[in-house]
Symmetry: C2
Subunit: 198 residues, 2 copies
């Protein structure tokens, strides 16, 4: 027997497609939505379609953008001689929040992961190489994650670019405020290797 | 500085209004949605509005319904002389899934909770009393939760209805498959009190 009226069942199944939303959460959200005002539901529905229609990827760095180029690529105050390579727009936003970087970016939209069958052609690496031909870049900073996929990707790109220009990798080590007691062995090893003279 | 293009920021803030979705999950969902096809996003948006437009509460029992009466109230095969009182449409669905009940329902849409300032007028209790005047009901089964609010609500309704008709309460005890070791003291106490001769 079907316990939901059809439109509700459909909504639950649509919501279940969202990342991190299982069928129980989808059900909870759907029932909650039934108690929303029609205007509020419309507002949510519109914001979905609007985001999809208005946002695409920057033609240059592949960050999210409303116009052809993203706000960062359009910003003449940024240093165009450095490109920071990240996996994902969210990583870029995290980096921007830190306020520690004032160059341009390149968003790969993924990682190289031979284990999962994802090769270099499945990320925006070709596009990075194209940029390096036309833009005057002095340094590429590899800011992919410090997990295996991130490291593999950084190593692969470093090997490609090192003959051409300066390539650096963001530091791995213990997080600020982190206690050594709770850091894993590899992080501690990396922190030790990356030690700097004071 | 605003790190998101506006339509994305709006989407994140709309998604954060959903129950159980914090700002991190909302961000994750929003970025995931950008990679969906436009058709899939439209499908989700439509299912939201459609559910809101097509579903309302049954005029009789206040379960969710597409027509004036819900499927259960319309079903002539159900026993109209018993009403099972639940807090929420989800509880009703859970009860239906168990297949153990064939009477009608009444959905309160909440609980009485003096601690939170919710009195009997804020749930669909008046509507239950009205039903008892016009429908020929022999028994009311109180199937509110076994937490404090559920118990308070059940006690309150029992006191109101006991002079008029048979009132029962679903059993509390150890869940089937449950290990006594992990049951809390109150559950064990209730299980002991509710013991039945074999």
């Amino acid at each position: 027997m079907n316990y939901y009226p059809k439109p509700l069942g459909k909504l639950v199944s649509e919501l279940s497609k969202l990342p991190g939303i299982g069928s129980k959460s989808a059900q909870r959200i759907a029932f909650d939505l039934l108690d929303w005002s029609r205007e509020d539901v419309m507002e949510l529905a519109k914001s979905l379609v609007n985001a999809k229609d208005k946002i695409h990827y920057c033609k240059k760095c592949y960050h999210i953008a409303e116009e052809e180029l993203c706000e960062i690529c359009q910003d003449s105050g940024r240093d165009p001689s450095v490109i920071c390579v990240v996996e994902d727009p969210r990583d870029l936003i995290a980096m921007e929040r830190s306020g520690s970087y004032h160059g341009l970016y390149h968003v790969l939209h993924g990682t190289i992961s031979p284990m999962d069958g994802r090769g270099p052609d499945e990320i925006r690496l070709k596009e990075l190489l194209e940029r390096l031909k036309t833009e005057e870049v002095k340094e590429v900073i590899l800011a992919t994650g410090s997990d295996m996929e991130g490291e593999t990707t950084a190593l692969y790109i470093a090997r490609l670019l090192k003959p051409i220009l300066k390539v650096s990798r963001i530091a791995a080590g213990i997080p600020v405020g982190g206690d050594l007691e709770y850091a894993d062995e590899i992080t501690l090893m990396r922190a030790m290797e990356g030690r700097q003279e004071l």
